[in-house]
Subunit: 231 residues, 2 copies
DNA sequence: CGCGGCTTTGATGTTCATCAAGTAAAGTGG
DNA sequence: CCACTTTACTTGATGAACATCAAAGCCGCG
C-alpha cells in the first residue's frame, strides 16, 4: 500500500523546481500546508482513470507512467513522468477528472498539491501566474515536439530514441534496468510487442546494445543516435 | 498586399471571445490600444517562419494555415486556425520566434495583440491570468486530442475526419469549397497526395461524397462518420 | 505442478509510400 | 489571344514497412 510520509518542508525541496521561484518564503509556507507527500512501490496505482482531479502531482523521486485503457486487452502509455515533472498541470484547469491512470513503475515519492491552493496563488500573485504559464507552455512544447518527432520515425528510430532517453535523460548512464516490459515499451511508442523484441535483437546483433533480461547496456551510443536521427 | 483596416472597438468584438470576459470595460479599452487589425487575401503570407513573436494573433474572419518547410520540396501544415482561434498563445511565452509560417487560405481578417499588453494584464489581473491559463489548457487539449486521434487512424479514417471537420465545424454545411489543394490536405494529415486523391475517388464511387474540383458535397455523413470512427 | 503472462522467432498479409506516366488546368510571355 | 510552361490532379504498378497470426520456451506464482 502507498504510504504517507512525513513531509519535508517545501522550503527545502523547492530548489528543485523552477516553478516555485516566484513564491518567496511566504508562498512556500502556504504551499507546505496544501500538500501531501506519498510513497508508492513499483506497480502501485497512484490514481485511476476517472478519479476527480483535486491536486496537481509533483514527482519527487522515481518514475510513474500515465496510461489509458483503449480496449479490453490494449493499453496505451501516454507518457512517463520523472523527477521534477508535474502531472495534471494542464488538465487541472479544464477537466474535472483524470482521463488517464497513473502507476508507479519504480519505487516513487510524489507530492499532491491541492488545486485550490494553486488557483488561489495564481489569482493573487501575478509573477506566479506567469511562471505557471511559462511552465505550461514548456510542457506543451515538449510533449508536442517529442510526440511529433516519434510519430515520424520508423520503428528502429523510435526504439533508438527511447533507449537514448532512458540512458541520457533518466538514468544518466549507459547501463540501466528497463523499468518497463517489452509490451509497455510498445504501448509507449505505438508499435507491437513483437517488433520491440525484434528490433532489440537486431540492435544486439549489430553490437549496439547488450541485453540481459531487463538490463540494457548501450555499447555504441553514437550509432544509436544515428539510428534515431535517420529514422 | 495585406491591408490594415480601421479597427472596430474591442468592446464590440469581444463578445466573440470567451478569453476577454474577465477584462471588463477598462481592460477592453486598454486592449483596444494594443492591437492592429489586418485583412489578408487568400494566399497572402501573414508571417514567416523565424519572424520575432511580438503579438499573439486572433482570427477574426477567414482561415489561415500554420505551416513549416521540412525539406526542399516538402512542407507540413501544422494546423488550420479558424475564427475565434488564437495563434501563438502557447509559443509567446517560451519562444522568441515563430517556428512556423502563417498563410491565409481564405480572405481573412486577423488581429495582432501586442505581447506586452497580454503579459502586463496577466501580472495585474488574476482573473485574466486564470482565463488565459484555461484557454491555453483547452487549446493544448484540443491539439493533443486531434493529433492523437488522427495519428492512429488509417488513411480513409483521416480523410473522413477532415472532411467532417470542414463540414461540421468550419462551414457548417454539407456542400462547401475546399480551401486547400489535395497536396495541402496530404500535408495536413500526414499522407501522400496520391492517396488523398485515391481515397476521394473511393468515397465518390461509394456514394459518400460528390466531387467537382474543389467543391465537395457530403451525401452520406453517417457513413463518413462511421469510416472516421472505424479507421 | 500447471496456469497465465512475458518473451522470442518465423510465416503471412495489409497498408501505404514510391515510382512512373499521362491528363487537365492555370499561369506566363510574346 | 495563343503557344508554352508549370502546377495540380489522376490512375496503375511495385515494393517496403509493419501488423497480425501462430507456435513454442521461459518463468514466477498460487
Amino acid at each position: 500500500m502507498s504510504e504517507k510520509i512525513k513531509s519535508p518542508n517545501c522550503e527545502i525541496c523547492a530548489f528543485r523546481s523552477v516553478l516555485f521561484n516566484s513564491l518567496g518564503i511566504d508562498g512556500l509556507g502556504k504551499m507546505n500546508t496544501c500538500k501531501d507527500q506519498f510513497r508508492f512501490k513499483k506497480g502501485e496505482v497512484v490514481c485511476h482513470e476517472g478519479d476527480p482531479i483535486e491536486s496537481i502531482i509533483y514527482v519527487h523521486k522515481g518514475l510513474i507512467k500515465l496510461h489509458k485503457r483503449i480496449s479490453e486487452n490494449q493499453s496505451q502509455i501516454i507518457s512517463i513522468a520523472r523527477p521534477f515533472n508535474f502531472v495534471g498541470l494542464l488538465s487541472v484547469f479544464t477537466k474535472t477528472e483524470f482521463f488517464y491512470s497513473i502507476t508507479a513503475i519504480e519505487d516513487s515519492s510524489v507530492c499532491f498539491i491541492k488545486k485550490d491552493c494553486v488557483l488561489g496563488e495564481i489569482e493573487t500573485n501575478g509573477k506566479f501566474a506567469l511562471d505557471i504559464i511559462r511552465r505550461m507552455s514548456r510542457i506543451t512544447d515538449d510533449i508536442l515536439e517529442s510526440k511529433f518527432a516519434l510519430s515520424k520515425k520508423n520503428l528502429r528510430g523510435r526504439i533508438a530514441h527511447i533507449l537514448l532517453d532512458f540512458s541520457e535523460n533518466i538514468y544518466k548512464t549507459n547501463e540501466f534496468e528497463l523499468p518497463v516490459s517489452r509490451r509497455e515499451i510498445a504501448e509507449l511508442i505505438d508499435m507491437r510487442t513483437e517488433n520491440v523484441i525484434r528490433i532489440f535483437s537486431e540492435f544486439r546483433k549489430d553490437g549496439i546494445i547488450k541485453i540481459n533480461g531487463h538490463m540494457i547496456e548501450i555499447i555504441n551510443p553514437e550509432m544509436l543516435q544515428r539510428v534515431s536521427s535517420a529514422g
